[in-house]
């Protein structure tokens, strides 16, 4: 039961990253790919109808984490207090920059929200990456399962690490590049003309960085978290996850070379993100939050879970809810399928 919920939460987080990843990426690149106001509106139209639904996955994943692993939710959210609050502020700013931009026609209003949209998207991509880095590296849990990390200390992996150290910053940059590539491919898929050409150009550039940083963080992860190589050695079938990431990475480049394969290239990028994330969770399993202090303090799926009754009953409504949600999403994405023009057509 606890393994099932571990997989379900991991799947929800993965869906969140793949979906909100492209609109975060769109925010990162939109100043570059869209030069005129009409082009900016095209970029926003490519994510406008779906970003809110994408972000709901974060809320749903958070809620699911809360009831399935209360101790993990309590420990991680209070320990990552400062970065989480900053993430919340950025999500607020980003949400209103998308929603409120179109309300007023003014040469001051639009550039302001465009800049807010870029900054919040970029910082969110870096913070999410750094958060993932923290989970892999481990946090200084005490015997009652709590910890607190300041934003940074001395940028080393010493006994009192901060949210940002050299390792987590590397992961943050990798995440920034990967989402840049992801967003550029989505925009290329959704648009036409100059915007599409620029998006493809950015995707090609980001791809080089993604390859480089994938190699670096893989090397660094195997060095700093011995749990990860152990997991792969014990359960070699797990190599399918990094293989998926690798295939995705090759696929992005392969389909970008051709014209008219933007959608396939975007799916390859999805595969890359999924492969990287699943490799990470596979690597730390059954830990959900490794301790950097004493391995016996680590939070695992066994010591952090809720009661079996709650988890069983949750499975029933979770499946019903997900089927319904899948229905809405299919309906919505079918409704907004196809390219957006440079003019708003609502």
């Amino acid at each position: 039961m606890e393994t099932i919920w571990f997989c379900l939460v991991a799947v929800m987080i993965a869906i969140y990253v793949v979906l909100d990843g492209f609109d975060l990426g769109a925010g990162i690149i939109h100043l570059g790919v869209a030069r005129t106001d009409a082009e900016r509106r095209a970029v926003l139209a490519a994510i406008g109808p779906v970003w809110d639904g994408n972000e709901v996955w974060l809320l749903a994943a958070g809620g699911t984490l809360f009831f399935a692993y209360p101790l993990l939710y309590a420990s991680a959210f209070s320990g990552f207090y400062l970065p989480l609050m900053i993430v919340l502020w950025l999500l607020v700013l980003r949400g209103i920059s998308i929603e409120f931009r179109s309300h007023i026609e003014s040469p001051i209003w639009h550039p302001f929200w465009d800049a807010v949209f870029f900054l919040s998207s970029a910082l969110l991509a870096i913070f999410f990456g750094a958060a993932l880095g923290n989970v892999v590296r481990g946090v200084p849990l005490n015997s009652s399962g709590y910890f607190f990390e300041p934003l940074w200390t001395d940028f080393t992996l010493g006994p009192s690490p901060g949210i940002l150290d050299w390792y987590t910053i590397l992961v943050g940059v990798a995440s920034y590049l990967a989402l840049t590539q992801h967003g550029a491919l989505w925009i290329a898929h959704k648009t036409i003309g100059a915007v599409r050409d620029r998006a493809r150009h950015i995707a090609r550039g980001a791809w080089v960085g993604v390859v480089l940083f994938t190699v670096i963080i893989t090397w660094a992860t195997f060095r700093i978290q011995p749990r990860v190589p152990e997991s792969f050695a014990q359960r070699p079938w797990g190599y399918i996850f990094p293989a998926l990431a690798l295939a995705g990475l090759v696929g992005v480049r392969w389909f970008l070379r051709r014209q008219d394969y933007d959608r396939t290239a975007f799916f390859a990028s999805c595969a890359y993100l999924l492969g990287m994330l699943t490799s990470v969770v596979f690597g730390v399993y059954p830990d959900v939050l490794p301790a950097s202090t004493d391995p016996s303090y680590s939070l695992t799926i066994f010591n952090a879970k809720a009661s079996d009754y709650g988890l069983r009953i949750g499975l029933v409504w979770w499946l019903i809810g997900m089927l319904l949600a899948a229905g809405y999403f299919t309906f919505l994405y079918r409704h907004v399928a196809g390219k957006v023009g440079t003019e708003n057509e609502s």
């Binding site: 207090y81 607020v92 007023i104």
Partner: protein, 445 residues
């Protein structure tokens, strides 16, 4: 940790109070928009479709505010109230996660269609979208109220040897009787906000001599729905809620009423200021026996005052609970009077010409917000010193690892950010109201 605890409380109180300014309007408007869309589909009258589009624009802005201020709420259980989350997450995590999975997906999918999909969906499809948005927002409301109701009146739980509280019965949690009544009371409050805002904007148009036909529609719908909601708010929902509190939270009731001494013929204080130092009510204006009657339906009946309970079990902000409760009830009574009189004028066909009535309707716009907020303060401050009534004290629920300094830092951050949001919201809604619903459609041939 005394300072940290106070800041954690203020942090949650501030963010949730600001957040709830928006959902109370969207939940109320969702119903009103659905009613207007139904009329539009049944009569084929373009006038109602334009009304729907106008209110959907205001709904959209408000909804966006509700979403962006709502996201921090779900995270704050973990960030600021980690011990509470650890101990009770197996129970309240259920309803909170269900809100995400059942309501948010639904709302976020159909809101876009309500706002932008009318052409592609057709009239019936658009009507369906308005229904789904209504359903989603009201379901969301239920799951949040059910979460709070469990904190007010915990049911269907079991306590493990290590002190962790787990879920014992799913349906027990969902069908908590407290949740059903609190939800009914809360949703009437949301409909009151929605209908007062609608009537106020209608009155604004009528008084300004513009958009007359829309002004009349908005006032008529606002007053009609508002009349029903204000009455239901008092009876049976408010009355039953009060008796549940009397039965299960006697300390809360005593604080709400300012009842320091037990009495077999307990009065209701209409006015008066609680004097916490001397445990008495200053300048009281009392209705004798009234509290006993409301509690027991009998003029004689022992109502327990604060003196029955150890001071450590009293709400720590008695004056706040007392004033919030009195503001809520006082405003609720005035709302009923306004709506009854307006409705009579409406039936007599005189409301649209009666400028004093329109002025009252327009100026009463902010007060439902105050009443709803005061009601929630009564519930939440009245529950103190408990986080989960009778099970977990508030002081035992905070995050052990988050210091007062960090909490103050993020509280200040939220205050600044929300001030900007509030100004933006008022500015954007003002522009929509100024722009108006548009010209009257040409008569159909």
């Amino acid at each position: 940790m005394e300072e940290a605890l106070g800041l954690h409380r203020l942090h949650f109180a501030f963010t949730v109070t600001f957040h709830y300014l928006f959902p109370q309007l969207t939940m109320g408007l969702a119903l009103l928009i659905f009613i207007m869309k139904t009329i539009a589909v049944r009569t084929g009258d373009e006038h109602y479709n334009r009304s729907v589009r106008f209110w959907a624009r205001i709904f959209g802005i408000t909804f966006a505010m509700g979403v962006v201020t709502g996201i921090p709420m779900e995270f704050q259980f973990g960030t600021n109230w980690a011990e509470f989350s650890r101990i009770t997450g197996g129970v309240i995590g259920q309803t909170l996660a269900m809100e995400g999975i059942f309501s948010f997906f639904l709302e976020s999918s159909f809101l876009g269609l309500l706002l932008f999909g009318e052409k592609r969906l057709g009239q019936r499809g658009h009507w369906f979208a308005s229904f789904m948005v209504f359903l989603g927002s009201w379901m969301s409301g239920y799951l949040i109220v059910a979460t709070d109701a469990w904190m007010q009146h915990p049911v269907a739980y079991s306590i493990a040897p290590d002190g962790v509280i787990g879920l014992a019965s799913f349906w027990g949690l969902i069908l908590n009787p407290w949740a059903l009544w609190q939800y009914a009371h809360n949703m009437c409050g949301a409909v009151i906000t929605g209908s007062f805002v609608m009537a106020a904007i209608g009155s604004f148009y009528l008084l300004s001599g513009r958009d007359q036909s829309y002004g009349k529609t908005f006032v008529r719908l606002g007053v009609t729905v508002g009349l029903i909601a204000t009455i239901l708010q008092l009876f049976p929902t408010g009355d039953t809620q009060g008796r549940l509190i009397a039965e299960h939270q006697p300390t809360t009731l005593a604080a709400m009423e300012g009842l320091f001494q037990s009495s077999p013929s307990a009065p209701i204080a209409v006015l008066g200021q609680p004097d916490i130092q001397n445990n008495r009510l200053d300048n009281p204006l009392m209705i004798p026996h009234a509290l006993s009657f409301l509690t027991y339906r009998h003029w004689i009946g022992q109502v327990r005052g604060l003196d029955t309970f150890p001071a450590s079990d009293w709400p720590d902000r008695i004056a706040l609970v007392y004033y919030s409760y009195h503001i809520m009830v006082g405003l609720g009574t005035i709302f009923i009077a306004i709506m009854i009189l307006s409705f009579i004028q409406l039936r007599r066909g005189k409301l649209f010409e009666s400028r004093p009535f329109l002025w009252v309707l327009m100026l009463s716009c902010p007060f439902p917000y105050i009443a709803n907020t005061a009601g929630w303060i009564t519930a939440e401050a009245g529950r103190q010193p408990w986080l989960v009534y009778g099970l977990l004290r508030t002081s035992a629920g905070e995050s052990p690892s988050v210091s007062a300094g960090n909490t103050l830092f993020t509280l200040i951050g939220f205050m600044g950010l929300y001030m900007v949001l509030g100004i933006l919201f008022l500015f954007l809604v003002y522009r929509e109201v100024e722009e108006g619903p548009g010209p009257e459609p040409a008569p159909q041939s």
